[in-house]
Amino acid sequence: MTRYVLRRLLQAIPTLIGISIISFILVNSTPGDPIAVRYFDPNITEETKAILRRQLGLDQPLYLQYLNWFAGISLRRGDVVEEFAVGQTTCTYLAWLDTTLCDTQGGILRGNLGTSLSTKQPVWDRLLERMPATLELGLAALLVSLLVGVPLGVLSAVYQGSWFDNTVRVLAVVGNALPAFWFALMLIFLFGVVLGWLPTGGRQTVSLEMRFDPVDRLQHLILPTVILALGPIATYSRFMRTETLEVIRTDYVRTAKAKGLSPFSVWFVHALRNAMIPLLTILGPAITGLLSGAVVTETVFAWPGMGRLTLNAAFQRDYPMVLGAVMFFSALTILGNLLSDIFYGIVDPRVRLS
């Protein structure tokens, strides 16, 4: 087992390096460079923009920019030690190459995701800053979607073909098809503006003295959780329905029934446990998805999460921020898949990890 995990982790390294190269090329080939988009302002002159490009290293060829981002090593023509040896960066002039070599103490190789162009903060700090809000909403949505979706799916299977089953199936299709932004605004209008029961957005009521108020936080969580859980509830219920129907046709369920066990015990103790196993395979990626945030829900409900962070960074052409987020999410995806494989092995002894 340990060997398996270690091998999977080692395999992740070339994967991540590959991702870093591909995403670096993709991000840099989007039209509109960071300086032109950020400073679309006639008061900021071309000369100023040229200086900024040089200071940020955006005037360098792409492979040198990659080297700097990946390994924290910056190469520049000529003797420019004085200009670039700033702060933690140390530079040496290599006379035989007529090149200045700078060590910026950065690079993803050293676990440094770089500095955001728009806020000048370390990318890693900006990601961590969003973690609590993203986790809060993501976990709430996951919990609700499992607690609602799984029983709905099992009950649908139990009463297969009944009005209940049909209703759930129709609602599942509707739930998946509803445009989240529109439904969210409808909920805001109904529960926030007309009825005044729930707050319309944000993580908490803003005031000058912010205190942790669990009730207030929970109220703010309700609407975005409903919106975010809607899709997964539909998916899980349909998934569980299919899996349960498959399991109840197996011999051991028939045996359990024949032994005279109560229907509840048959369905929820014997059938459910085995029907849930395949669910684990989709849960791993689902957790990654929740961590990377939900753009639409976060936007409509003014939720300060990862999705908005990444989207805004992309619109502003904040390359280090976008790349940092991509690397972070890639690592999470690899980890999520590994975890779900391991769990699978634990829950289902027929699956051997080797």
Partner: protein, 585 residues
Amino acid sequence: MYAHRFTPLAVLTILVVVLAACVQPTPIVETVRETVVVTQEVEKVVVVTPTPVPPKRGGVWVEGSSADASILNPILASDSASFDVLSWFYPSLIGQDPFSGAVVPTEMAERWEVSEDGLVWTFYLRDGVQWSDGTPVTAQDFKFTYDAIASDLVETPRKSNVELIESIEIPDDRTVVVTFKSVKCDGLTDLGLGWLPRHKFAEDFSDIMTSPENEAPSVSAGPFVFKEWVRDDRATVVRNETYWKGAPFMDGWIYKIVPDPGARLAQLQTGELDMIGLQPEQLTTVELDPNLNIYKFKDDGYSYIALNMGNPENPMPGRDEEGNIVEQDPHPILSDKLVRQAIAHALDYDTIISKVYLGQGYRMASNVLPAVEWAYDPTVPFYPYEPETAQALLDEAGWTDSDGDGVRECNGCATAEEGTPLELTLITNAGNTTREDLGALVQDQLNEIGFQINFEAIEFGTLVQQLLGQTFDMVIIGWTGLGSDPNDDAFWHTRFDTPGSGFNFVSYSNPKVDELLEQGVSVPGCAPEDRAPYYKEIQQIIHEDVPYVFVTGTVANIGYSKKFNGVNPGPWSFYWNIEKWSLAE
């Protein structure tokens, strides 16, 4: 005691002037103005008790914004959201009249004088202004800030603010002497940035880029001090008890980030927000809400359709390295003035303003905003909506529909090959529904007279690439924040026609306009009456040449709560007297 019996449909204004004896040692003269509108027959006795009403302390104002600030440092920030927040903290040299936009001595400079040659400006600073930690605000803070901008260690978009400055001297803590390299009549705006607190930064500027002050300013010389900033959620500021214009009555101000416009409106209605910028389609909802006010004003911007006069296949700079004007490779269709004028005649502006902008706009004849009264030329006519004139102009330009397919072809036109269809691509930024609607309408109206317009809404960054790269035909876009000076040489001067970066992206090349633009900013003395003739002539020429089709001047609407008394917004500042606002209840 007064007793009034109201008559039906009467409007009564009660003006009670009370000399109030307050708890405070000094008495305050207070004016209470009450407007009562009676629309129903009522029998009612109102007793107005002239109790002394000192302005009530307390209350919070929450502004809703779509975007969050990026950085709270006045020389590093470039987005308007950052300035919305950081402007509370940093003092500046000169003030701006909230209603006229004129330069006024309401900030650090009490008065100033200019040398005869217009190059040396001496500013005399106010005494007794302090940062909130008690350190005096002095000329050294100003010098530190501008030296920082010039420093190699600082990555700032404001380098151009110091380009024309020869030197900054501070003979003493209350005097600033700025020497310019040449006369530049709009040069005062270069001196308008907020001042950094020198005592909070390293003297050699080495920590400007990384200082915690950029995230959480520890001192303020404005009405509020920084309290908290949770990115993409809210920024909070609270009363500065030591503000030199007098501490605000309100407890604080919050900048709350609500990205979705529909959600912003909902929060304004529920009272979670006190102020938002309104979109035209939201006006009715706010007008019908008894708890809300609307402030409508002409903002300093306009929407236009840029017409590329250079060949998008071969963008060329306006001047060569020696500064000589470069003959442009012409746009096959749009380089012909007759075609551009035809487009200007083909659009139904009144319908556009009433249907697309829902009445929130006004017509523009040329490049200077009517708000800049002294430079605006009211004699320049608007292009009338005359499709027949437009058709005639196209015929004259050699674009006729010879094969009867509804699209004109080049039959003796100036710069395209014979038989080329009159086909152009029109782009705008996706997500701006007003511009998308406008694009569809423009497409219709131009196709009507024989164009074939391909309209596409694309992502903003991609649009910027095409626009600055000069690889477009026509773009719907707008300018905002043009300010109160008419100098807009960045849009028209050949010096700024540099593919990839310059803002004369339409490749407008007119030596006469170049000359007038240069003269307009270098008139000795810079008196408005001396500068005005240049700008009036420019407006005539731009109108004639149609590098842009001016669609509409921007009318902005702000919806805000009636929570506070004393709110008196001007087009140049909503908050200029915020320290005097007091809770209405």
